[in-house]
Symmetry: D3
Subunit: 234 residues, 6 copies
Amino acid sequence: MKPETLATLRRVSTATLTTQMFKRGFRNVFMQGVRALGSYGDNMVGPATTVRNIPAREDIDVMASLGNPEHPQRKAVETIKPGHVLVMDCRGDARAASGGDILMTRLMRREAAGVVTDGGIRDAGPIAKMPLPVFCAGPSAPLNIIQHHAVEIDAPIACGGVAVYPGDILVGDADGVVVLPAHLADDVAADAAAQEELEAFLLARIDAGAPLPGTYPPNQATLAAFEEWKARQG
Amino acid sequence: MKPETLATLRRVSTATLTTQMFKRGFRNVFMQGVRALGSYGDNMVGPATTVRNIPAREDIDVMASLGNPEHPQRKAVETIKPGHVLVMDCRGDARAASGGDILMTRLMRREAAGVVTDGGIRDAGPIAKMPLPVFCAGPSAPLNIIQHHAVEIDAPIACGGVAVYPGDILVGDADGVVVLPAHLADDVAADAAAQEELEAFLLARIDAGAPLPGTYPPNQATLAAFEEWKARQG
Amino acid sequence: MKPETLATLRRVSTATLTTQMFKRGFRNVFMQGVRALGSYGDNMVGPATTVRNIPAREDIDVMASLGNPEHPQRKAVETIKPGHVLVMDCRGDARAASGGDILMTRLMRREAAGVVTDGGIRDAGPIAKMPLPVFCAGPSAPLNIIQHHAVEIDAPIACGGVAVYPGDILVGDADGVVVLPAHLADDVAADAAAQEELEAFLLARIDAGAPLPGTYPPNQATLAAFEEWKARQG
Amino acid sequence: MKPETLATLRRVSTATLTTQMFKRGFRNVFMQGVRALGSYGDNMVGPATTVRNIPAREDIDVMASLGNPEHPQRKAVETIKPGHVLVMDCRGDARAASGGDILMTRLMRREAAGVVTDGGIRDAGPIAKMPLPVFCAGPSAPLNIIQHHAVEIDAPIACGGVAVYPGDILVGDADGVVVLPAHLADDVAADAAAQEELEAFLLARIDAGAPLPGTYPPNQATLAAFEEWKARQG
Amino acid sequence: MKPETLATLRRVSTATLTTQMFKRGFRNVFMQGVRALGSYGDNMVGPATTVRNIPAREDIDVMASLGNPEHPQRKAVETIKPGHVLVMDCRGDARAASGGDILMTRLMRREAAGVVTDGGIRDAGPIAKMPLPVFCAGPSAPLNIIQHHAVEIDAPIACGGVAVYPGDILVGDADGVVVLPAHLADDVAADAAAQEELEAFLLARIDAGAPLPGTYPPNQATLAAFEEWKARQG
Amino acid sequence: MKPETLATLRRVSTATLTTQMFKRGFRNVFMQGVRALGSYGDNMVGPATTVRNIPAREDIDVMASLGNPEHPQRKAVETIKPGHVLVMDCRGDARAASGGDILMTRLMRREAAGVVTDGGIRDAGPIAKMPLPVFCAGPSAPLNIIQHHAVEIDAPIACGGVAVYPGDILVGDADGVVVLPAHLADDVAADAAAQEELEAFLLARIDAGAPLPGTYPPNQATLAAFEEWKARQG
């Protein structure tokens, strides 16, 4: 990912990114049922570190299992690289939590870029006020091992109905979370920035009373005006 | 719709309106799964302009299709009458958006009274801050043509599990959206206003410590006190 | 319930309580699909007074039925003991409301500790601003008798997929609602308080940069440091 | 219930019965998600004996609880009157069974008219071959106490989204199960028989090539032909 | 549609057709939640005649409305062309029926090729035994006007989550129903026949013990053997 | 697994097995939403060979990918050991197939004991007639790569909401599929056989008119009679 891609992805919308991905033939890049827990400023952006969960089993998923330093969820939290997003596959099951305030605090201290899960989050009240962007299927108090058994780190997973490969770039805003294959991120980000520059111009025209036809999508005259405006901005 | 009906419907609750409709034999007037995206002051009120969508098809629903000025969704936005509510049938499918900030801005400029969809809304962050009341099944970034193909304008549609005929009066508040058949709107509004005047009186009594029996629903004595109170208000 | 249990349960989280219940072999104590309607300070805590609903029937559930002082829902509101939580079994059906602003106001005046329903709540806008904690499946305008027929008071019920026996202690926070069997409340509360005291200590360490291994869960050294810290607090 | 009502209800369809109930203002009389487990001859018909279940709790719903002769489900099986239908409210949750081959065999020996549950049935293979009509939400192996706690006998319940009052007449065929309030059964059955006699005549005409207009629904000429035909049958 | 296309589509599987459509870029051509009610021999094949339903409204959808010869559903049945498939959009709502035995009999007499609905079917027992292929979301006794209001004939509709345009070719087998855009039917059918001829050859080899690699999908040697085999067949 | 365990598990019911597992503290061992496609004689029994799928991605999951001999699903079919059950995690998504007649035929030739998937199966008509037991979420024509990307073989997976570890013993009958941890299979099978011997005795008594109390569950007298009966059988 080019250095400027990170900055770009922090400000373009997930809406724009889905349009860019659609233009490239990708229809299923937006997680379903996954929302921001709090209100964040810039977008959450970062490469995915993944954790895969399967249903819990009563004899394996006991309190003591969480003390094992090799427990994949705990190890993922402890080893995540700065700037990465921890993405957890909980099979869309929010009957239990994917984590709570202590794990989220540790992720902040490790400079994770954010957390994404299609399971629940406990301690949702305090976590919603943290600066760490957290996206989930909703608040849910029960501890993870009631429903979830963490199996492995950095395998390809499903989250919110979308495939997430380790290293994919995740972007989250108030609409939700988009998954970008790593090799497309630079290109998609550049085109998204260009699209948003044009749309900002179009929105200003619409806001000033211009009709949709000719403006959105823009005809040649509007595009020419946009180019002129861009040139004037210098 | 009588002129005073609009004013009345802006302040009575959708809860009261469902009660009035129930008294007239209507049980299914409240949209399920459709909520306000932002916090609005007065209720959204206006006659329905409808757009019907069916599932998208890969060869028809392409980027270029949105540039056609006859595209029903775009045409509906461009031709909606001031004071009308744009209602979109998305079959309850929020996997994609029904529109974003540019269309919502154009609707504001055209003085639409609001937007209702049982699909998603993209750019939900900025749109939630606009004064235009928007009711939807939730934020959703993917562009509409991934899931939705707009077929026609001003046909009877389904939205949130309720039949919406063009011209029906839609009313939205923090509970959600109620659909009133146009020919009943004046009568329902008048009775709703009367019901709310009475209930304000009853609520004040309950708030002052009166018990439910005799007060809610009111007995003859309470009704007499209400009439006396009304007379005193002049 | 010991006097101090009430105070404890007002401040420990539902997350902690599910952990304590899990340690005692209870896996299904957290209501699914039930959320706080507003933002409240301390937790909602109190013994359950239950109301059971079945589907409405057109000939029985008519406006007049609500005027009967023996109507179980109305009677439950009118007879609830101070400090109790009114819990309504609506079969998870939020297509209609469990109550509105007048009933909630009466419950406040009767000093109920809160309201829990797996159905809807109407007048959700004003109710969300009341001090009475209300937990529900979401706003829903239609009056209760469109979908719900109240059958009995203080029978064991289902709510949010959890068994609620009259007198069970309900605790609600931003995550949702936990059900504690009455005979376990004192013990669970005491252990929850101890767990949270330890976790506050651990969270401070994590916040200061400590790694998960050895800290969460704590090893002997961390536990010793905790004991020392507790001793210092006196 | 008149003696001939039972015979009539054994042969009219649940489709016809929903029409008759609709004509009387009842819209919600057909259980959703409840199907016949086997193929039966005549309809299942009989008054409801009800059992209500709530979610299981780990400390109460243990193997030993099933040995208590007062266990409501077991007691209902043991005390059901000949000709009655055992109806179980399982909250639409088919993750566990409502019963298996031994209970079904006991119900046959007690001459129950049938079994209806919106939960699962275990031993579905052998039970589907028994003459006892069983309607359920599907096969499900886990024993009932994993999900269900039987609370009471002959209380009003919900089953398949419909209110069932003890003594209501249940009728089941290949479409599913209809609930008739006891006081309406005679009247509904008589009208259903008349409707089916007419429809048999109309179906014969349609089968012979008659067009819908004038035949279905019948116009005066068709009705006259029907009356003549009936007269000829003597 | 070429004459031979009809014959071909009667014997190739819907599985093969989805593969051919996928090769052409179509991913959403198979109706979800729609199954054959009975066991039929050859596939159901025919162009779609569509009926669109919206939710019923209590004052409009009354018994008398079904007697109107312009009622869209009744008119569609009465005017459908021989060989066509009647496709009904019921918004996936099987709480009520799309039709019963009299309408199905009339459709047989009019030589309809079949019926497809994402709503229910009443009189499912007798209809399952008719030769007319019927695909639906399941048996459901309640009459259509409890939930469905027929709006129009031969508009583009949604059925089972797939867009159906009037004249699209519908093909149904034991897997379910596939929708083919009319202009692609000839081409898809020809390629499907070729695919199935090859797969019959491959299946015979697999059945005789050949391994997947080299056989399925076939390598050059296998393809050569297939061509030789075809040549030998003459 | 002891040699006799296989024979035992072929004849005891999944209902009995869930009871035995419940007695050992396991509540979640029965797959939800997974049913037998055909009618089979003895139970399906065998150790699990697992395949894990995540959502498909348009650029990766193309027709050509199926030709890769390392494709995990194809490789699993080609390398499965005789007597094993192929279990596929499709995230409960039956919008596409997990396989069709050619793969099922190859599995038969490789002497697989059966197939289990929580996705769909295409060519369901012919496959239901094969002797190979197939359990799935239902017929579904679309090819797997429209929704599913096979990631790995013999990792722990989720299927039907249950954890499946490679080597776990799967047992399937008309109720559905139960998962037994490998180390418990012998013990569970032995106890299940004993339970069924007793229940056969009890069922005969119930069938002969014995009441539930004292018989089911059995009291000391009934157990003594059972022991005597067993002794007589020699």
